[in-house]
Symmetry: C2
Subunit: 196 residues, 2 copies
């Protein structure tokens, strides 16, 4: 069975890929709005881990809407949620038997409710799987430690390809670099360099 | 890392074991109240699938309480939930790094909420994992078809070792065999005979 996994190059989506590869032919897809080349970092990790990789072309209008929302809110949560849902819709429209993402049990964003999952499946005739949604933070951390080599650091210094990178770039282009610090709280990101 | 998985011999908990075996040393444990020997069916499947197996001794008083509740309600849901929570507490008190069960995204019972999961983890210093909670019914069915040989049939004819078997036995002992039909709706169970 062919499965497409929404992929950032970070620890969660890499772990999700490892959990699924025993059961599916997994292709990693990184959402891409054409704003920056950050998707290339995800391709490097995908190559290192031995997975097929594709870009998932998304609608730049959605990135604009997300940045408007983030600017309005003063925090990124709802904007990122908007982008994640759009990316899942795009992924579901492709020719996979199943689609998946790396959302965890304790994630505040992005989240996919049971009703949203069912709706995706019914409308697109595809299985939606969140393989990490039954894993808490501590379980994920222990698995990461046992299987992945990661770089951890502040979002602005880590080369990964989650939505945040392009949304930050877009916000800085429109409002100046200072806007990033106003809307995105400091938090550490991970970038996977090696799968053991 | 050592993981103990609550095991019935059915398709969901067998699939959960297959998902986790890549990352953990998995032991399958079947909850047992000393009422019947149905746990032996789970041991057969565990042997066929090549997993370590243990019985998980549970408190017969909880089975009594569950049957009282089922009799009172006229349906089994709340009684089964009671037993599942008790079994998870017993399992969490053992010396595993992580514990798990086979609950699925679309299960109505048993369910383990995010708050219950966190509470189990905090009180017992153990990771609780529900590896199938991100899989819907259709995804599970397709994985079962690709990996497991199963027997499907009405609960009363299928030799498996979920809580229902002992609760049914207990209810029949106390109220006569007719009580089973009054409290347990007809539904098909699966019993795994082979893992491919």
């Amino acid at each position: 069975m062919e499965l497409g996994l929404l992929y950032s190059g970070g620890k969660d989506s890499t772990l999700a890929a490892l959990l699924l590869e025993e059961f599916y032919d997994v292709t990693l897809l990184t959402a891409h709005f054409g704003i920056s080349d950050d998707w290339k970092h995800a391709r490097e990790t995908a190559d290192a881990a031995g997975f097929d990789f594709e870009r998932l072309e998304c609608d730049p209008k959605v990135a604009e809407d997300a940045v408007d929302r983030i600017r309005e809110d003063g925090f990124p949560r709802n904007g990122i949620q908007l982008v994640h849902q759009h990316a899942l819709e795009r992924l579901a429209a492709r020719e996979f038997d199943a689609i998946a993402d790396g959302t965890r049990r304790d994630d505040r964003v992005p989240t996919v409710s049971r009703a949203q999952a069912q709706s995706l499946e019914d409308r697109h005739g595809v299985d939606y799987i969140a393989p990490l949604s039954g894993f808490g933070r501590s379980a994920v951390d222990r698995l990461v430690e046992s299987r992945l080599d990661v770089i951890v650091g502040p979002s602005e210094e880590i080369d990964r390809a989650d939505y945040e990178a392009e949304l930050r770039t877009l916000l800085a282009e429109e409002d100046g670099p200072g806007a990033i610090g106003e809307c995105f709280p400091d938090h550490d990101q991970t970038y996977v360099t090696q799968v053991r």
